[in-house]
Amino acid sequence: MVLLLAITAGVLFAAAIYMILRRSLVKILVGLLLLSYAVNLLLFNSADLIPARPPLVAADSLLPPTIYADPVPQALILTAIVIGFGLTAFAVVLMRQVYSTLGTDDLNEMRCTDIPCQEVEIASEEELMEDPL
């Protein structure tokens, strides 16, 4: 089970990196999503996976059972999922805003903060008027 999860996490990491290296913003977003899944799986795997042994102290005992599932990674994943959800939601809105402001989702056309490019700005907006897709 651990091996299976490890391989899944590895494949997810590879897929995420492939997507992040692409030019289109939407694909990068998918890449980031996959990356957060991969990390969550990694966190899940970071403690030994022990099924059906909750870390509960029995009524007649003062100690937990000798072998029990570690609850900490699961708490971490829950937090990470919530944070990841919030960030992804914001990223989606920002990318929508990028598309409506810049008229493109191609990273190659987003160089105006690195080099001054007034001319490109006007050209790309005109293109948008002619062909919204």
Partner: protein, 494 residues
């Protein structure tokens, strides 16, 4: 008690949200919040200095099980400097932030950002550090994009993607470390990591942390998001970011590489030293090529990060002390330079150095406000930058690391060159006919008074170099000996 630097911005953030409709009330609240924050921070600094490391076990869970908040002298110094920056920027915002931005929640975000920054400084738990990073990032994303101007949106998307990437790397490093150490409490980890047999894996995780925090603190091969995004929002926001955000990354590097990953310093810290050299050089060369005031200053942030890392890479108590003093110096100097850039823009309507000119003639005071922190950044005596660099270089000589010292000195000279360029272009040369507005245009006192106060503080930091370096030395002593930190958090060590 030490949760106050987190709770007070939270409280003022909420109050600002409640006062959503009234810009005037929000502005007053922000000043009050900044003042309260500064009072709390200075009081805590005093307490920590008098009675050692303070800690709080949240929810009364004993140390390695619950989340610990820990404040050693290093954290206390940074919380105090952050509070100074917060108060100054809150005052500057009164005139430096336009009405629509205030309307769309600039002030609540401001306090949430501050809460994230302080939380990262105070926490003693790695996962909790991640959470505070996210709080801070979330607020900074929105602040960066707030206003929705074209360059802003473009800068924000680059900033967002690279910082999300760095956060996930950080989180995976946390997961791997939990697998090895079985705990995320930093003091407990510091106790357990040296006993582990898998030293190579620990080093691997250390490098993962270096990359994750390296992206956030903009070190050499990972800094590209910074000059692409920092110059896009209003200069008030940039000043706040330049003072706080990258420094949180540097703080995290200092924390993990003095407390946790000290087993293989011949590899990790030597690597940090090399990166420090490259960071200084690329930053300053990048700055030399710029003609936009804010972009030039953004590249200088990177070059100064190099100096901070140099102290960490040298890894001796004097070097760490020098870095801590350097951090105080650079936060004050850098933020005031950005604030001056904002005033210049208000005067002349541009950040482009080619279009500026003649400010020395028309506005001697503004020119002076630029000159002092600029020379301080370049490291001219008797300003704070001189003492910071002197202490670093002496520490470098003690450890016979001559090459990094040589790089540091050369970069210092280059910094002076690029500050001279700004001086010549914006302040010294003839006023440009096309854009220049005459000197009658008044500058609001809300703009120049906070800037002047910050410049004055930066001057004071230079004049009080002796006691401040002493304080930094105490803080470095706590960093150099992890057992003090471990003992303070966990109690008596078995």
């Amino acid at each position: 008690m030490i949760a106050l630097p987190i709770l007070s911005p939270l409280l003022f953030g909420i109050l600002n949200l409640l006062a959503w409709r009234s810009a005037r009330l929000q502005k007053a609240l922000s000043l009050a919040g900044g003042a309260v924050q500064l009072g709390v921070a200075l009081w805590l600094l005093h307490t920590v200095q008098q009675s050692g490391i303070q800690h709080l076990q949240v929810g009364n869970w004993p140390a390695p099980f619950g989340i610990s908040l820990v404040m050693d002298l290093f954290s206390a110094i940074l919380v105090s400097v952050a509070a100074v920056i917060a108060l100054v920027v809150a005052a500057y915002s009164q005139a430096g932030i336009d009405a629509p931005r205030v309307q769309f929640g600039y002030y609540p975000l401001f306090f949430l950002l501050l809460m994230g920054v302080n939380g990262a400084f105070i926490t003693g738990d790695l996962f909790n550090l991640y959470v505070w990073f996210e709080v801070m990032l979330m607020a900074s994303f929105v602040m960066l994009a707030l206003g929705g101007e074209r360059p802003q949106i473009e800068g924000a998307i680059k900033y967002l993607i690279l910082n999300l990437l760095s956060s996930t790397l950080f989180l995976s490093a946390v997961g791997l470390l939990y697998n090895l150490g079985g705990t995320l409490n930093m003091a407990d980890l510091a106790l357990r990591l040296p006993k582990l047999e898998q030293g190579n894996q620990v080093t691997l995780i250390a490098i993962l942390f270096l990359v994750a925090f390296g992206i956030k603190s903009a070190i050499f091969p990972l800094f590209f998001w910074l000059p692409a995004s920092y110059h896009t929002p209003p200069v008030t926001v940039t000043a706040l970011f330049s003072g706080l955000l990258t420094k949180v990354g540097v703080y995290a590097l200092f924390r993990v590489f003095t407390l946790l990953f000290v087993q293989d310093t011949a590899y990790t810290h030597a690597l940090i030293l090399v990166i420090a050299g490259f960071t200084m050089v690329t930053g300053v060369f990048g700055a030399a090529a710029q003609t936009d005031f804010r972009r030039l200053l953004s590249f200088h942030i990177i070059s100064q990060i190099g100096y901070l890392l140099m102290g960490l890479g040298l890894f001796s108590q004097p070097a760490l002390a020098a870095s801590i003093y350097f951090m105080v110096h650079v936060i004050l100097a850098k933020t005031s330079l950005f604030l001056v850039a904002g005033i210049v823009e208000k005067l002349d309507g541009s950040f482009n150095l080619k279009e500026l000119g003649g400010i020395y003639r028309t506005r001697f005071g503004v020119a002076l406000l630029f000159l002092l922190p600029a020379l301080s950044l370049a490291g001219l005596p008797p300003l704070s930058g001189f003492f910071a660099k002197l202490a670093l270089i002496v520490a470098g000589f003690e450890l016979q690391q001559y090459s990094i010292v040589a790089v540091g000195l050369a970069v210092s000279l280059m910094t002076l060159y690029s500050m001279t360029k700004v001086w010549n272009e914006a302040f010294w040369k003839e006023p440009q006919q096309s854009t220049h507005h005459p000197a009658h245009k008044p500058i609001s006192a809300w703009l120049w008074a906070p800037t002047a106060a910050l410049v004055l503080l930066s001057l004071l930091a230079g004049m009080l170099a002796e006691p401040l370096l002493g304080l930094a030395n105490q803080a470095a002593a706590q960093l150099a000996d992890p057992s003090i930190y471990i003992q303070a958090v966990l109690g008596a060590v078995p």
